[in-house]
């Protein structure tokens, strides 16, 4: 049942409650609460500055964005063989045998050119950066248990998917250096629309 306002409230607040409320919202109280942060005012107009500065320890614990040049990639490595095994346990049910697609997108296989009438847009011929693959698997896959894979497992799965797309040799473990240096075939296939040049017609 949804809560209803107790009948006592209809009689109006008690003097004690009023006193407590006045105490809580008085300007002095607000100043006190704000005093822990820096720069409470700037010139004439007060500016809120209620954020908490992080100490170096907390900063070191922040998630690292993985950038396309490999910055932010963790240590560790994985092999194509390990990746194949992981794939058959954790991924095949949605992405299909050999990454050919199922309820989830195709990850390898079709290679019709991007300029053709029926282009494939796969990791091998479409994705501009390999770092994106590692990052995406680590944060989002498998869908039923995102964030559950170790860095080594993510390297292994990335290695296997790259191998299936003809971009990584069977017998070479993949690590941060290898991934950051990998030049994807469609690396230069994208035209940034930023900075903005106004609406394209059409």
């Amino acid at each position: 049942m949804a809560p209803v306002v107790p009948a006592s409230c209809l009689r109006g607040p008690s003097p004690w409650l009023v006193a407590l409320l006045v105490l809580l919202v008085s300007p002095g109280h607000l100043r006190l609460a704000g005093a822990v942060s820096t720069e409470a005012t700037k010139g004439e107009t007060p500016v809120p500055a209620l954020g908490e500065r992080l100490d170096p320890e907390a900063i070191a614990r922040l998630p690292q964005t993985i950038f396309p040049d490999g910055r932010g990639l963790p240590s560790g490595s994985g092999t194509v063989q390990q990746g194949a095994l992981l794939y058959s346990r954790l991924c095949v049910q949605c992405h299909g045998p050999d990454g050919r697609g199922g309820s989830a997108p195709e990850l390898a296989g079709g290679r019709s050119p991007l300029a053709g009438d029926y282009p494939d847009q796969n990791i091998g011929n479409w994705w501009p950066y390999a770092t994106t693959l590692f990052d995406f698997i680590r944060r989002a896959m498998p869908m039923f248990a995102p964030g559950s894979l170790s860095d080594a497992e993510c390297y292994a799965l990335t290695a296997w998917l790259l191998e299936r797309n003809g971009l990584w040799p069977q017998d070479m473990p993949l690590d941060a250096a290898g991934l950051g240096a990998l030049h994807m075939p469609n690396r230069d296939g994208f035209d940034s629309q930023w900075p903005d040049r106004g609406p394209a017609h059409p």
Partner: protein
């Protein structure tokens, strides 16, 4: 139909006066009404007005739900009918534990609790949000047959309120306004997107309220990024981390997705603006007209670049156009209502609407859009939409 069924059931069950009793003689005038409610709900007879869900069978939280544009009037979308696009479900977030952290490059790493952000000045703006993938069935070779909301309802409009992002960037000491801001959500997909710092300083804000109340969980509770006029995926829901950087992250959803493959094999990336678009929302597929009927051709128009300047309506497949009346106020980056009264003469007609925005940009014909972008761009489809009225008065979706 739904309403009639409901009335008959209600009257039958209670064994009260016949249906003809109306006004002050109606059955509901003879018995006390329902008591108060803590949170009001739509009338039971309106239970057919819903979001249409289309999700992945193996991942129920991956998919979309569409705003029923054909059932709504006015410019604001009720929060419960705002379209959804989630990649791995709606997280249940404890607002007491959720924080927003801003760090990276020249930012002094700073963290805010939800309670602290609620004490900042809160600005409000009425803004549309449109998914970059809205209307993508327009690229198909045959026109799919469905009411307007089920084809184009990944767009909604709300009054959003929150903390200007510039305040937080300044508080963290971010001085260089050139570069990128990487925004990350705390859902099971960890969606992260890069946007230009110029935009972040200009008019973005941390959305905390929607239509006057705190955000709904499916719209990012307790906070989401609001990026006025730009594509929906940038409005990162369940926002938890902002990182200042010199380059974009090149995340999966700004490379493999939300980019548009063009004829010839090159692709557009970072096409942030949602260009001008309009839709006739009534009449729509499913309605039936009778010869001689008065028809209020009405709909919505919006542009990610500013105000709507003009909407034209055609009833002859674009051979001639007439100005529609715009309902004021016409706000920038917000739904604008248009209407054009019409009497149907019983002959085949094709209804279209075409928007022009403040930059002078005119919503393109489908042919022109396809000529420029091919068929595989998937995102940013904003061509003129056509609805045929056949001699029987039935309405269908057509390409002309």
């Amino acid at each position: 139909m739904g309403r009639r069924r409901f009335l008959q059931a209600g009257v039958g069950a209670l064994g009260l006066a016949p249906l003809v009793a109306t006004g002050t003689h109606a059955a509901w005038t003879r018995t006390p009404g329902a008591p108060f409610s803590n949170y009001g709900q739509p009338a039971a007879s309106e239970s057919g007005v819903i979001r249409w869900i289309s999700a992945n069978a193996d991942v129920p939280g991956n998919g979309v739900s569409w705003t029923p544009l054909q059932d709504l009037v006015g410019t604001l979308t009720p929060a419960g009918l705002h379209f959804e696009r989630h990649h791995n479900g709606v997280p249940r977030i404890d607002p007491a534990l959720h924080t927003l952290t801003l760090h990276g490059r020249d930012a002094r790493a700073t963290r805010w609790t939800v309670a602290k952000l609620l004490r900042y000045p809160l600005v409000s703006r009425q803004l549309f949000i449109e998914c970059g993938g809205n209307s993508n069935s327009g690229w198909l070779q045959e026109p799919p047959q469905a009411a307007v909301g089920w084809l184009h309802g990944l767009v909604s409009c709300s009054e959003w309120s929150g903390v200007p992002l510039s305040l937080l960037l300044e508080e963290a000491g971010v001085a260089r306004r050139h570069g990128w801001l990487i925004a990350e959500g705390s859902d099971a997909f960890g969606l992260h997107m890069s946007l230009p710092l110029e935009k972040a300083f200009d008019d973005c804000f941390i959305g905390l309220y929607q239509n006057g109340e705190r955000l709904r969980p499916e719209n990012g509770y307790p906070m989401r990024l609001i990026v006025p006029g730009w594509e929906g995926v940038l409005h990162v829901k369940w926002l938890t981390r902002l990182e200042v950087a010199d380059v974009p992250a090149m995340s999966r959803n700004e490379t493999a997705r939300y980019t548009e493959l063009l004829p010839g094999g090159r692709a557009r990336q970072f096409s942030f603006f949602m260009e001008a678009k309009s839709l006739i929302t009534r009449p729509t597929l499913g309605d039936a007209l009778a010869p001689g009927d008065y028809v209020d051709i009405a709909g919505i128009a919006w542009s990610g670049r500013g105000r709507i300047r003009r909407v034209e309506v055609s009833v002859d497949a674009g051979r001639s156009w007439q100005d529609a009346e715009l309902q004021s106020p016409v706000l920038p980056l917000c739904f604008t209502r248009f209407r054009r009264p019409w009497r149907w003469d019983g002959r085949r007609a094709v209804l279209q609407s075409r928007a022009t925005d403040a930059t002078g940009y005119v919503q393109p014909a489908r042919e022109a859009l396809l000529a420029a972008r091919g068929r595989w761009g998937y995102f940013h489809y904003n061509a003129v939409v056509s609805w045929a009225v056949d001699e029987d008065g039935f309405i269908s979706h057509v390409y002309v």
